[in-house]
């Protein structure tokens, strides 16, 4: 199976799992963008991120408390 076929099979499986309905005429463009998106995800993984590098959206009490949700 070529890399292109693998990506297409990967996308088909995701679509099936999510339950999305993709019209046939839109699939080629979505496949193209999906391949681009996987490259973006791979690019981020080239960054030097160690175990203690925390995400930018780490949870904090201040906004939660002032919004009255806790």
């Amino acid at each position: 199976m070529s890399e292109t076929d693998t990506i297409e099979a990967d996308l088909q499986a995701i679509i099936s799992r999510t339950g999305l309905t993709i019209p046939d005429d839109r699939f080629p463009a979505i496949l193209h963008s999906y391949a681009e998106l996987r490259q973006m995800a791979d690019l981020i993984r080239t960054m030097d991120l160690g175990p203690t590098d925390e995400p930018a959206n780490i949870y904090g009490f201040d906004p939660a408390l002032r919004g009255g949700t806790l």
Binding site: I14, L20, A64
Partner: protein, 473 residues
Amino acid sequence: MTNSAGADLSYAEAGTKLRNGSVTSRLLTEAALTRIAAVDDKLHSFITVTSDSALAEADAADADFAAGIDKGPMQGIPYALKDIYMTAGVRTTCHSKLLEQNVPTEDCVVATKFKSGGAVMVGKTATHEFAFGGPSFDLPFPPARNPWHLDHIPGGSSSGSGAAVAAGLVRMAMGSDTGGSIRGPAAYCGTVGLKPTYGLVSRRGIFPLSFTLDHAGPLSWSVEDTAITMSVIAGFDPADPASANVPKPDFLSDLKTGVEGLRIAVPRHFYEEAKGVSDETVAAIDASIETLRGLGAVVETVTLPDFELYNATGRIILLAEAFAIHEKDLLSRPLDYGRLTFSRMVLGGTLTATDVTQAFRARRKLADAVNQDILSRYDAIITASSLAPAPRFDEMTSDTLPSWGMQTIPFNVTGNPALSIPTGFSSAGLPLSMQIVAKPFADALTLRIGHALEAASGLSSKRPELETAVAAE
């Protein structure tokens, strides 16, 4: 008053004239409505024009002036809101079939601030569907067009706001910016566009695209108009979880104090090495840099992480959050979305939890690279807004992820204030631009630098000959 609906009066000038009685809010509002009626059937910048309520608000403002009641610098002045800002009793469609008949019962916080400040809303402007899709012809409303050349796109997603301001229909219209949706149309339409610091303007009541990347801000004719608008809308909102509990900045006191001694960093590799950058864009930025040097600023070249890292991080976060917001409708009524919106938005459903978490971890590092590495040594950063002038509608044919040659998304990732400002015109007469970025909550500094450039260039006095273009159609 010229034919540009009173938009030739700056907000400051209009404020003075309203207060000394040499102009009325009704006059300004009627002029705006007349010009909208004259050109907007070709420009398509408005989805809804609120003529009756606008005139009522204008009369109320005039009555307040007569009674000596002063509600602030935008009292009596017309403006518009992008049609994702919820407005009580006024249809808010997000330019989508899904919300075509949506009439909110409450105003968003920004609209509330304008109302309490006595400003006059003349309507709701076109957007890309849900501030995301693209210029589309399969939606309930046509896409806005670029007043400099009607065959060209105005940028997006605050497309109608950019077009309306450039066309002189209103002096300021609000936009939203998740990956460049204020600065992009500002760049393509030749207006000023400020993406404020994340958390400086409340997002509450604005239909979300991406919770952690969405910013609300103005597109204006001039930097001073932007500063005055920010003085009305900025401020802490405890009910917006992202709102920053910081003192409201003073946007006006230092606006005209120049740039002498400021240190400005230029990551030239961001735009010089980018695919599709135009020579004219680079030359116009270079000319602006020389202007700043001539005004006494110190400008030096610096290096940031690869632009594509910022782009990838922003895109992944944006798509994931947008899909989460729209998942239910994407599954249950997919064909009610425009083709472009659907084809792009479903991609968020393909991302893994790890993809998104890694993007958020990258985000912190990339923000540090801007704030700790560069803005600890410099006052501001200059880079391109768009890499080239606005393309034609018939060049926008793809359903794939948009690749418009914008350099805006890094500062959605970092949250820094970023001001897009005109730098000149291409040989085809289309606007060129660049952006000025500063430390978080140093929005006033971006305006100060922008004002110095604007004053030196005189570009804010040049406007499109829209009547000629409309008459030719």
